[in-house]
Symmetry: C2
């Protein structure tokens, strides 16, 4: 195996990871669209999409293992490839969260519509942006962008807290829509988990970029 | 670096992962004890423990990277080391769930006690057993044990569904304890997430063990 062949493999790995990120982000968008439109067909799309996400997850893992086995990788490539494997696992779980949201939507559609003053699509847009930026920070090796993702996570946590307060209040005022409020509360939790996965990715990027620095800069420990 | 040195490193890696598994499991136990006893001191122990878990997570990652860099690992060692890195990430998130439970407990203790007919400690014991078995299946390379973890996950999912039904029913009957019921519902979700991490580990083990077979047994694809 030549060095060129190895570098082609790395490029392919990046390309696949980017594709997977797009699929995971789309899954979340579709699930939230399903919520917004009370559309069961969109739920089915999310379930179909999960299979494709699982398949590409395995492809990425296998390619990463092949690259690790191909030749003695340099430390910097080693860190890159193992970071890809971790990010890959997080993206797959973003897809799982989209499935959880879609399952909640199936439940919601059975219940009478309820007016709930929380902006789920706004939270979803923030969260999807975190996933996109986390992946971008990785592929462009930008630790600052990864730091921005960590800040967005605080915003999402605050939204989740706010939704929680609003929805519990609603349950107290109108106990008859407790079930609907609970479903939305759990969707909010699912979105918060997606944000956690984006945060995990961002932390891996920071660790990876700084880890690469360690070689030049002996005492630079990764923070957590 | 000699082959012997490499194998010592692998043993150390196993040893550390086992220690981490014990810490993660203890974190869940302690958090659930905190719930059972309404004990804020135990919550603090969980928060302290999380720092130790994060520290050992980094140690395991660094050791794994050192081993990968040390010499051209054989395919079987490569899969082992990368599986350790994935399992490591899951165990760290088990610790995060324990922290989430402890945070919920801090909330619960502020509220008047409420009689809620769900057996959280039983669910927690099942879930902690899953984590322990998943790790055991990895260290002993037993795919059957990993399969057993997947079955337990179905049981935990059913418990979670049952808790959900019971708690929502309780909210309808006694709206004044909605907050307490909701806290317990979310603890149940956190435990279910721990079970998901154990399931992820078990799936990695099955993939790893069967992946190792591929070399002997060409067409044996890993299932998902």
């Amino acid at each position: 195996m030549t060095r060129t062949r190895f570098h082609q493999g790395l490029e392919e790995l990046k390309h696949k990871l980017l594709a997977m990120g797009g699929m995971a982000e789309k899954a979340v968008d579709t699930a939230v669209d399903a919520y917004r439109r009370r559309d069961l067909k969109l739920c089915q799309q999310v379930f179909q999409g999960e299979k494709a996400i699982n398949a590409i997850e395995r492809e990425i893992d296998e390619l990463a293992l092949d690259l690790l086995a191909m030749q003695q990788p340099m430390a910097v490539d080693l860190r890159f490839i193992t970071a890809v494997m971790k990010i890959n696992a997080d993206l797959e779980r973003v897809g799982d969260q989209a499935v959880n949201i879609a399952e909640r939507v199936i439940n919601i559609v059975k219940l009478p519509p309820a007016e709930l003053p929380v902006d789920v699509p706004r939270m979803a847009a923030t969260v999807a942006g975190m996933v996109r930026r986390a992946l971008e920070s990785f592929l462009e090796e930008k630790a600052e962008l990864a730091e921005a993702v960590l800040k967005l996570d605080d915003i999402v946590d605050r939204m989740d807290d706010e939704f929680y307060a609003v929805l519990v209040n609603k349950m107290h005022q109108q106990p008859e829509i407790t079930d609907q409020a609970l479903d939305v509360l759990l969707i909010s939790r699912n979105l918060e988990r997606v944000a956690d996965h984006a945060t995990n990715i961002a932390e891996d990027v920071i660790f990876w970029v700084r880890g690469a620095d360690i070689r030049h800069n002996a005492n630079h420990a990764a923070s957590d």
